[in-house]
Amino acid sequence: MAMTEASAAPAILFEAVSKRFDDTVVLDNVSFTVQRGEAVCIMGPSGTGKTTLLRLVNALTTPDSGRIRVDRFDVTSPILEKQALRLHVGTVFQRYSLFPHKSALENVSMGQRQVLGRHKAAAEEKARDLLAKLEIDELRDRYPGELSAGQQQRVALARALAMDPQIVLLDEVTAALDPRMVDKVASLLRDLAATGMSFLASSHDGRFVSSLSDKVGYLSHGQLSDLQPPAAEMPTVERAPADSPPAQL
């Protein structure tokens, strides 16, 4: 079957991307691609630049050099339409970043209403559906301050997915979840990947990486290893910096 140029283009393309903060080189000449419908996980100890890498994708941070393409958008272009880009890219932040003055339901539905223009009933129905899949629909009227870390993390995931993005960035999305919920989240994301949604995730969690990823890379000292299919059982990466990646990578 002939593939159009648009459908053959990767969802995310990094070409020789570098980023430093003051004297610290966070990313050094990083290159990789995420194909459409593919799930790629980046592993590595804390502080090695995984969050920065994700923030570069949706232009919350700008690289010092290199080229980044997300779908049809040149993210490194000075005339980038950031809002248009972010309509295609959902983000789940490491610290959840829920809006504390809005309930779980409002957190998940407000983007649909204000950005996508959905009616309240439709937005809340979608929100409730996602919250139910993540087993927290009964907590929809609670505020973030009344939720546990794991519950907040699931609300944050629902908020990103509710916008029907084509690409989702996941920053330690299972850090506060128990193994059963990790499997459930991975299963939900695999189902979405089958519909063409692409994922770029950072994670220490070997279980999650094994369950979701098509490819895994290891980020250390600013350099990303070649992306490889994950082993059947990935180790959980120690949070302290390490000199070399685990053997499975």
Binding site: Q83, R86, F93, S97, F99, P100, V115, Y143, M163
Partner: protein
């Protein structure tokens, strides 16, 4: 003593009317100053550099000039009346000039507080809003200001009490408020022994009105906002 109290009681309606003028001037200054001050404060985080600089400069000027001098300046700057077409004349009363004059420090105060409250919202909230992606207007109105506003209320309540106390300076520009009413009363009484009781009585009016605000302010600070 009974004669002193009787005299003070006799002049109480006049003083009450004067104090009402203090309250009106204070409320007018707070309403006008709050509206403009919030706009100036939000202007300090504008994406346009010239707006940020202009708003910063205005705030610095208003925060570092004495309100009494501003009041005098505006009292002479603003005309007594404006001549409109067809022979119609719009008077500019003294109390209105006092409202304008006292709104100036309120503008500076609100600008600083709005700017500080907005800056106090964690950058994670800005990132999450941008990532949704909410527009800047939606981010400010739906996310940032609703979180910043509860932080503004306690200092705003305290500053209202400050403006009420400062409203007595309106007497310097000819407004008949409580201090000038007390002075008129003393000119009528011509008893120097009543000077101290009369002005102490005026002090009590201000104290009894302003002191409850400190309790209300503490209540706001203790209250949990969702």
């Amino acid at each position: 003593m009974s004669a002193t109290l009787a005299t003070l009681w006799y002049w109480t309606p006049s003083l009450a009317l004067g104090f009402l003028m203090n309250i009106i001037i204070s409320i007018g200054a707070m309403v006008l100053g709050t509206a403009i001050g919030m706009a100036v404060g939000l202007g300090r985080i504008s994406t346009r550099a010239w707006i940020r600089q202009w708003c910063w400069g205005l705030t610095q000027f208003l925060r570092n000039t004495p309100s009494l001098v501003l009041l005098f300046y505006l009292a002479y700057l603003l005309p007594y009346e404006i001549h409109l077409g067809s022979g119609y004349v719009l008077p500019i009363p003294g109390w209105f000039k006092a409202v304008i004059g006292l709104s100036m420090p309120v503008i500076g105060f609100m600008s600083d507080n709005v700017y500080g409250a907005v800056r106090n919202i964690h950058t994670d909230q800005w990132d999450a809003a941008e990532a949704l992606p909410l527009s800047r207007y939606q981010t400010m109105t739906s996310i940032i200001l609703p979180q910043a506003t509860p932080m503004l209320l306690p200092p705003w309540m305290s500053y209202f009490a400050v403006i009420v106390m400062a409203s007595s300076t309106a007497s310097m520009v000819g407004v008949k408020e409580i201090l000038s009413s007390a002075t008129i009363a003393m000119e009528s009484i011509t008893d120097p022994g009543l000077v101290i009781p009369m002005y102490f009585y005026v002090l009590c009016w201000f104290f009894l009105f302003c002191y409850p605000f400190s309790h209300i302010t503490r209540w706001f600070e203790r209250r949990k906002w969702q």
